[in-house]
Symmetry: C2
Subunit: 320 residues, 2 copies
């Protein structure tokens, strides 16, 4: 059976695994990213992790078809990081494929981390059995990954799937990208917390709720998880945040449906731990923002793979 190494590069840790064609992972290992020490150090840590994985497996480099990696930001066709990875200073411009080829003799293939997750969901998760999917990962930000005709779609420069910056509200909240109204400002942990504090402050005095009271007192302690604990208690302000989030996410999902007519939109990431209420509400809103005949043919479902999706998708890149 063919096997590959999968590497998932995060802001604090690099995770690696050895995966066989049937999706079974072994020897999963983490090392620190040491992002603040620059791109070359991050690359060295990746190389050292690959080395550890090969040694742990007791196999030779020639027993692997290659290594796949998922990274924040964009990877060009030749394996150079093009940017979009703000939490990894100095990572932009790093050439990744050549040093891996040189050290281990096998090919490397990289993709945006959420793009890799989309591939994992397609092959082993919520995208099984269909050919066209879009993954949206609601984490600190909002990432995306697209599969068309059964293949990962990365675009010529590895930049496709930048769904977090779909503009959903003209003159909406300012975004870190310099524009306004990007869906990421609403549909992400950061966006939810920001709205929670803003809506709570606006309610102070008049329509204050238990949640709003806490948010006004200790805004720094608010998390998206906490917002959803109060959504479960039907707190009016928490519900307002939830509805705004789902409305804006529905706008982006509707646009994706009109453009790509995917079989499934898969919602994942930490925010989705809140469960079915997000899926249900997003469906209601999405329906309002796309062509009915296309909407009817698209399911909106939660992701199935958990924290291992990143390394599974990365290894799948190499196995494709």
């Amino acid at each position: 059976m063919k096997r590959a190494i999968g590497i998932d590069l995060g802001g604090t840790a690099i995770k690696g695994t050895i995966m066989s064609e049937d999706g079974v992972c072994s020897h999963t290992t983490r090392v620190p990213t040491e992002a603040t020490q620059g791109g070359q150090r991050v690359l060295e840590n990746i190389l050292s992790l690959i080395d550890q994985l090969i040694k742990k497996s007791g196999l030779a480099p020639s027993d692997f078809v290659g290594i796949g990696f998922g990274t924040p930001g964009f990877v060009d066709e030749d394996g150079t990081i093009l940017g979009g990875a703000e939490n990894l200073p100095g990572w932009k411009g790093t050439q990744v494929y050549a040093p891996i080829k040189e050290r281990f003799g096998f090919k490397a293939l990289g993709a945006n981390d959420v793009t890799a997750v989309a591939l994992a969901e397609l092959k082993y998760g919520a995208g099984r059995g269909v050919n066209n999917i879009v993954c949206m990962a609601l984490g600190t930000g909002l990432g995306g990954g697209i599969v068309t005709s059964g293949k990962l779609y990365k675009g010529t420069h590895g930049m496709a799937g930048e769904v977090g910056h779909i503009m959903v509200e003209p003159d909406g909240y300012p975004c870190t990208c310099g524009r306004k109204g990007c869906v990421e400002r609403y549909a992400s942990a950061t966006g939810i917390v920001h709205m929670a504090i803003e809506f709570s402050k606006a309610a102070a005095g008049s329509e204050i709720t238990p949640f709003a009271e806490i948010a006004c007192k200790n805004p720094d302690e608010i998390t998206s998880k906490m917002v959803y604990e109060y959504v479960a208690k039907s707190d009016a302000i928490a519900l307002k945040v939830h509805n705004k989030m789902c409305n804006m996410l529905g706008r982006a999902a509707g646009t994706l449906i009109d453009i790509l007519s995917p079989d499934r939109i898969i919602l994942g990431g930490g925010v989705m731990m809140a469960g079915g209420i997000i899926i249900d509400t997003v469906k209601q809103y999405t329906k309002q923002y796309c062509w009915p005949a296309i909407f009817e043919r698209c399911e909106i479902v939660p992701a199935k793979l958990s924290e291992d999706a990143g390394v599974i998708g990365a290894a799948s890149l190499a196995l494709e």
Copy 2:
């Protein structure tokens, strides 16, 4: 050299051609659609046109690899029209592949008409040399076609590329689809004329311009071509229409760029006869609505193929 028949189904005429692999068309012929007489009559007219083309060519059906057709609306994988072709009553539900196979013995492949145009532009027009493009056709409505990784992307049900209904203005103009603010309401001949009349009426009395005067007197005579004649004369109201159109089209284009990171967005259709001013202004707006690094890697260009794009794309479907 391989050859195929290409059929472009329109509301008033069906156009057919014989095309060889090098893109050369011959025996191009038109017959009336007779759309009001129902789907079966339209199908009969298509079959009769194929018959005429084969006879004119002096070849046998076995000399063709097959026939491709472009149609308004959506074609399912098995060749059934799924709808979205409002100007062809009764066409929805028609099964097209089987009768062609039965009568001529060759395979048929259908796609949305603008999707077929995208393929034509990819192979013989403004999309040559790249792998990822989006075509937007500004005609009566706004159609779209997507090519990913060098292949036409139609989605599982032939419905992908419904770019005309990307929502660009929440609570914007009501659309025929029942929703509001679809980009088609602004970036199409219909949308331009509607805005021209509305803006002219609003200006009456105060900021009236030569164009607005005509539009207020004879609203039924306004065309998008006329609007652009006055744009060329720097008429303030015509320019206002132009800017609103390009702004809204830029929002949709920016969204497409963020999602698909295409190498080129190709703008075609009758409205684009107005020339470079639309391309230039759309570029300015698009830049405001997408991620800069992706925008930099995407060209916005006019379509190169003229009225033959439909049949060329259709024949290309069969030749793929």
